[in-house]
Amino acid sequence: MLKKLSIWVVFLAILLILPLLFDSIMGISILNQMAIAIVIALSYNMLLGQGGMLSFGHAVYFGLGGFMAVHALVMIEFETVTFSVTLIPMVGGLFGLVAAIFIGSFSTRKAGTVFAMISLGMGELIAASSLIFVDFFGGEAGVIGDRTFGPPFFGVDFAQDVEVYYLAAFWVFIATLFMYLFTQTPAGRMANAVRDNPERAEFIGYSARRVRFISFCAAGLFAGIAGGLFAMNFEFLTEENLNAATSGRVLLMAYIGGLGYFVGPIIGAVVLTLMNSLLSNYTELWMLYLGIMFVLTVMFLPRGFAGFIMLHQLAWHHGRLKTLALPYLVTGVPALLCAASLIGLIEMSHTEADIFHFLGLPLNPDQLVSWALPVLLTLGAGYATRSSLPQLRDAWHAANTEGKRAK
């Protein structure tokens, strides 16, 4: 219990310290984005990770909540209503919940493919209607608000991004805490049971549909809160915030981070936000790399980054992590080199400049000879990686099995 409490204290401390470490305008803006991504990814995990419901339209609840939140901002600005903008994420959450209750009432009857397809269809329908119903969605230009109106909150008017960050951090903490607590409730536990074996859950007296519906509504609520945070941070919403591409990105985050682990989506949200906002400034091919990474993750790390880290739990538990360090290094270095030179090759084939700097070396892409070095390096490093794999496998087995014996 104390250990769990200390984790939450550390989490809160990290949230509070981060803006002091990354205090540039860009840094704060990335942190804000991360905060939003974490909440939406966690809420998605409630569906897929805990409830086994694969959704292709989760952005709908994020977007609808966000649109309502931005409308609330406009209403505050024109003094139709008066309340503090600190409550805006709650407005988004409530609207996300309402949308989830409505859609969930028919979509959660079945799990599996039927659910996935309904979510896809609803996602497309709502994304398409967002361009048709201009009054609420504002057409493709979206709805624009201003977060600095309404009664000030202890003198803070949220003109600066860093003020929004602390608000977002508060909501991230609350949302994360409640989503964690949800997994501990009977409803949360039953969600797992229904995911794994709906017949059995029905047999002991739980309605699988009802359990799914509860998870679905909770996920909609938190997605809406994320939407409200988005409205506070960006002060506008457009149709892209609820379209299929956004839904896909949420799926990507949760999956790459690791479904089934509570921290998985947090890792995924952080990694993807960083890739999105940093990588795209260095290469226009970043989406290609993202795609490669995603496919490789699904193939080789089925439980995501978090799952990969968790694999080491046993070895760590028995203090044998050290024995893995050297084999990891032996495999990791050539693997990284292989990846780096492969990326270099891809970039070189795509460049239009006369000189391409390959690992610091200037090469002319128009000459065949320039290609020899990177190709050789890639192949060599790839071969080295491959031949070191058995060694790693042995070390891995040793670290884990000996640990078991020590038990």
Binding site: I25, Q33, L131, T148, S280
Partner: protein
């Protein structure tokens, strides 16, 4: 092989010496201008093309001639927004974080609108760190009407101005008795439809609007069913505001159905579209735009295009307005002797500038809308000196409207910052 090694070595030496020279000789900070447009994703080719034009113009006019303001180079900072309003905000914050105060942006009115409101808010909340929005292509009228801002300047004609010219041209053609309007279902498509109907009614009451169709953006697989309706309506001409793949598919379907009627458009050229339309669309696709395409009026502009083509063989000068925008901004900086956005904005207001085509353009102070001559060109391969997509086909300008005749009243009530 030896040769290549030598060239590499020589190039290394040159680059090293350049670094030494530039670091010792020109201690001046470069003037940094952000270019926020799609550089990855489905619209990347348009964004990258624009970036090349801006970068080339900066080098061609200024950096190769010793820079501006006594030796300051212009550095274009490309920031990828993936044509997304959300990403645009992130890149805007990055630009602000890096101290950049001039932003070029053009693609998508949705992006331009959200950027406009973000800049207004940012400039109000952060005095001393203001940012200027140089809009070279977004044509939503609200940007210089209801939502006009002191910090926003538009260097393209907006959709109503363009439509005025287009409908004039249609009205002149007495063979056209009926018109079919089809467009993407969003504000630009609707603006084209609403205004075209009203203008045609005023100019040629005898023209029937035999169809007014909307379809969702990027969702239509096959335009043939729409074309069937166009054929059945007996229309003599089609007006569309479609862009990208929707434009190509629509034009191809119309032509494939054997319908030989003119199609009046806004965005049916360059970036692969001209090549795809090819021979079949010859003499059928019309486009309204600024700066004549063929024939080019001045030797000065021809030289610029040739130099650009020499450096970028796969690209065309698709948006001469980017060059006008850059040159006018630099003129404003030189005249005011300042790189402060407030001073630049004041100097840009009511500025008159002679473009490479030898034409005088005017940036109206009241709403920050530029006025320049507009042209209607046809897709053809006759009389084309500068083609598009290296296809032999290009735009031939048939009809010209001088700048004075494009001037419209504005409803803009600009709130001007006080200093």
């Amino acid at each position: 092989m030896k040769n290549s090694l030598q060239t590499v070595l020589i190039r290394c030496l040159i680059s090293i010496s350049l670094v030494v020279i530039s670091s010792s000789g020109l201690a001046q900070e470069p003037l940094r201008i952000a270019f926020i447009d799609p550089l990855s994703g489905s619209f990347a080719s348009i964004g990258n093309n624009g970036l090349k034009q801006l970068q080339f113009a900066a080098d061609y006019f200024y950096n190769s001639k010793g820079g501006i303001l006594d030796g300051r180079r212009i550095e274009i900072v490309p920031l990828d927004n993936k044509q997304s309003p959300t990403e645009t905000q992130l890149q805007f914050r990055r630009a602000v974080g890096e101290g950049i105060q001039i932003i070029f942006q053009g693609n998508s009115s949705a992006v331009a609108n959200t950027l406009n409101s973000a800049i207004i808010r940012h400039n109000r909340r952060n005095p001393g760190q203001e940012v200027l929005q140089i809009n070279y292509s977004a044509v939503d009228p609200v940007l210089t009407e209801e939502n006009c801002s002191f910090w926003h300047f538009r260097f393209d004609a907006h959709v109503i101005m363009k439509l005025e010219v287009l409908t004039d041209y249609i009205a002149m053609n007495n063979d056209i008795k009926s018109v079919y309007i089809i467009g993407q279902d969003y504000s630009f498509g609707q603006a084209v439809s609403d205004n075209a109907i009203a203008m045609l009614k005023a100019k040629r009451p005898d023209i029937d609007i035999v169809g007014n169709e909307f379809h969702p953006i990027g969702q239509v697989k096959d335009f043939t069913p729409y074309v069937t309706k166009i054929v059945a309506s007996g229309a003599d001409a089609v007006i569309t505001g479609n862009f990208g793949a929707d434009m190509v598919s629509l034009a191809r379907s119309i032509i494939d159905s054997g319908l030989k009627i003119p199609i009046y458009t806004f965005y049916a050229a360059y970036d692969g579209i001209t090549a795809t339309l090819g021979e079949d669309a010859k003499g059928l696709v019309y486009l309204v735009h600024n700066e004549t395409s063929n024939p080019i009026p001045t030797e000065e502009r021809k030289q610029f295009i040739r130099a650009f083509k020499a450096a970028n063989p796969d690209n065309d000068v698709t948006q001469p307005r980017i060059i006008n925008a850059l040159r006018m901004v630099v003129e404003a900086i030189e005249d005011s002797g300042s790189t402060d956005p407030y001073d630049i904005a004041l100097a840009l207001e009511d500025r008159r500038h002679t473009t490479l085509s030898g034409e005088e353009v005017w940036m109206r102070g009241a709403d920050h809308q530029i006025f320049q001559s507009l042209h209607i060109s046809v897709h053809t391969n006759e009389g084309i000196e500068f083609d598009a997509d290296n296809s032999g086909f290009g735009l031939y300008s048939e009809y010209h409207v001088p700048a004075e005749q494009t001037i419209r009243e504005t409803s803009c009530r600009m709130s001007r910052p006080r200093r």
